[in-house]
């Protein structure tokens, strides 16, 4: 349904032109997303995980066309995204759920107006009565009361606001939803409500999700396919079950090991040191090599390309060569 082909996006982080001229510095670019390819099949969920600064939110914005890629192409239903977005009939079919339900709803609008706006702008309901009926239907769908439409966002809790965001995202009758960390601002018991709701809606409406999260446990719960991102690149992508059962990339293994789990009470471990380097000046070769326990000379100079191991694509020299310890 959605396909990204070697998409890159870079941000200009140069100093102002005059200052650059005076100090003779070159322009500086931050490669937020670097030659990323993936495809999302209809009715399934592809999740992208990674730590802060790995480019997952930039990728989410690229996927709905909020940013235009600097290189590469994103195709929606076989058409280039920019062309698809120019047609209301196609544009309507994709929507986005944002991370922060406190910032993504206009505090001065009533909930019914927030949800009605996409319906109005796409002309999906004729007449005020049909519009009100559709809004009530959507509120019920996400587990709120139709009378809640008359209230303002501040009257709701975080979880209820996220339900409103979902109702708004669904109001244009989309088939493809990009969800950027939809539950990370919520408490766990509320997170469970929202995740259950999203899965129910997927089953009922046949939705396709591109799900962005930093929480691997949430991702495992939600997705069929999983992509792991590090410094703007997808280092491993494949069926979620396969990756969780046998992670190939050392970074995926690190992420899985780092997550505290309820099953492991009082476990002690040796965490991998180091932090994500700056994406302005990523390390040469494989970007993960300074932290990688398996890195060798080749990793320091040569950028790994994706190779297929079973159903999984992985960008790692160690996995490709079958190296297991340095």
């Amino acid at each position: 349904m959605l396909e990204a082909i070697e998409v890159s996006h870079r941000f200009d982080v140069s100093k102002p032109a005059l200052q650059r001229l005076l100090s003779g510095e070159p322009r500086l670019f931050l490669r937020a997303v670097d030659e990323v390819s993936f495809a999302v099949a209809r009715g399934t969920t592809l999740s992208l995980v990674g730590e802060s600064g790995c480019g997952k939110s930039t990728l989410a914005r690229l996927a709905v066309g909020l940013y235009a890629p600097s290189a590469g192409e994103i195709r929606f239903e076989g058409q280039p995204l920019s062309a698809a977005r120019a047609q209301p009939a196609l544009r309507r079919r994709m929507n986005m759920i944002f991370q922060d339900p406190y910032a993504s709803l206009n505090p001065r609008w009533r909930v019914s107006d927030i949800i009605a706006e996409p319906i109005r702008s796409f002309g999906l309901a004729q007449g005020a009565a049909a519009l009100a009926e559709r809004v009530a239907e959507l509120l019920t769908l996400v587990g709120l009361d139709p009378t809640d439409g008359g209230k303002y966002p501040h009257e709701f809790s975080g979880g209820q606001r996220q339900r409103i965001s979902i109702a708004r995202a669904l109001s244009s009758e989309p088939e493809f939803l990009v969800c950027d960390e939809p539950t990370s601002a919520l408490d766990v018991s509320v997170q469970a409500q929202i995740l259950n709701l999203m899965r129910d809606l997927q089953t009922r409406l046949g939705l396709t999700y591109l799900f962005i999260s930093h929480n691997l446990a949430v991702v495992r719960h939600m997705s069929e396919r999983l992509g792991v991102m590090y410094l703007g690149r997808i280092v491993e992508i494949g069926p979620a079950e396969a990756i969780f059962a046998a992670p190939l990339h050392p970074y995926t293994r690190l992420l899985l090991d780092a997550i505290p789990d309820l099953e492991q009470i009082g476990r002690s471990r040796t965490p991998v040191g180091g932090e994500v380097p700056s994406p302005i000046a990523p390390p040469p070769g494989c970007p993960f090599h300074p932290r990688c326990p398996l890195a060798n000379a080749r990793c320091r100079v040569e950028k790994p390309v994706h190779t297929r191991v079973g159903d999984v694509m992985v960008a790692c020299h160690a996995a490709e060569e079958g190296r297991s310890s340095a």
């Binding site: 730590e51 766990v188 509320v190 969780f244 309820l262 932090e275």
Partner: protein
């Protein structure tokens, strides 16, 4: 004898619309060298409990009842200037955001030596040596060179290490860590947790670890207290609370956490949300959301009582 004893702690916020009771008869104890985890959803009163212990309640919040005792000394009635001597010296604190805990205008070394000299009678050079020692303790590479750096020159994880060094440099008996890893990425979070655990073990420091992340608690804490609407719902050894929770809220909370080990079709969810402080229901605060609610729960408030392996504030365990 416990290091810290909190008994029936009640914190109230007088407002124009009446007095809000943010903490209601909270009782627990921490033994020397023990790590007590405190979990709960936002607004449950976790951070407030920590703030009340170190005497940093934001006005108009005030302690309306109960007592806080550290090594036989009452903290809740202590005058502010004596309390200031306790903070940092005998109770260290680690806050959530390492960016705002450190003063951006002073070098790391200056902040550390200032803290050390406030609490310990050391000369400038000895204080500096101690500061370097603590930076090395928390795993800052090249500490002697980096001691004169400023907070902005450190990454988030490194800054949190500095904050831990600040909290521990006067060797307090108790550290209150309020969401110490929430602002950090998972791989860095793992480093910080391991560090906290090691330091607590090596120096015999007791830790009150406040977090909403049950996974962090599972890995770090000896005992855990689950808070709900300003009260402790359940308290007990960490393995018992996670594997065999006795309070229906604790049970729901554990079930709602997605696991890496196995995938379930649906997560357990607790419908509804925590009541606001203005509308805490009579009886047990959890009764409107509880699946096992009984008539008694709606009128009578349960105190902590022995349940199978833990202590839970729930009438289900009244006969046991």
């Amino acid at each position: 004898m416990p290091l810290l004893q909190v008994q029936d702690l009640t914190v109230e916020f007088p407002t124009r619309r009446g007095t809000l009771r943010a903490l209601d008869k909270v009782s627990f104890a921490i033994e020397p060298g023990e790590i007590l985890g405190v979990v709960g959803e936002s607004g449950a009163g976790k951070s407030l409990t920590g703030a009340a212990i170190i005497g940093l309640l934001e006005p108009p919040g005030r302690i309306a009842g109960g007592s806080i005792t550290l090594e036989n000394e009452r903290l809740d009635t202590m005058p502010p200037d004596r309390m200031r001597r306790i903070r940092g010296r005998r109770i260290g604190t680690i806050f959530q955001d390492p960016l705002t805990t450190l003063d951006p205008l002073y070098s790391i070394g200056r902040q550390l030596t200032e803290t050390i000299q406030t609490h310990l009678p050391l000369s400038d050079s000895d204080a500096r040596k101690r500061a370097i020692h603590w930076l090395e303790e928390v795993g800052i590479p090249a500490a002697p060179q980096r001691i004169d750096a400023y907070p902005h020159e450190f990454s988030g994880g490194m800054r949190q290490r500095v904050v831990i060094a600040l909290a521990l440099c006067a060797e307090p008996r108790l550290v209150i860590a309020d969401e110490p890893t929430t602002a950090l990425d998972v791989s860095v979070q793992a480093q910080i947790i391991t560090l906290l655990k090691r330091l607590s073990r090596e120096h015999g420091t007791a830790v009150m670890l406040v977090t909403h992340d049950m996974g962090v608690i599972a890995e770090t804490a000896d005992r855990v207290a689950v808070m709900y609407a300003g009260r402790i719902a359940e308290i007990g050894p960490v393995a018992s609370v996670i594997k065999h929770p006795a309070h229906p809220y604790a049970e729901g909370l554990m079930g709602s956490i997605p696991s890496l080990e196995h995938r379930v079709a649906r997560l357990r969810q607790i419908d509804g949300s925590m009541p606001r402080l203005t509308a805490i229901p009579a009886g047990c605060a959890f009764n409107p959301r509880c699946l096992k609610v009984m008539p008694r729960c709606r009128t009578e408030r349960p105190e902590l009582m022995p349940a199978s392996e833990t202590r839970a504030a729930c009438w289900l365990h009244a006969d046991a």
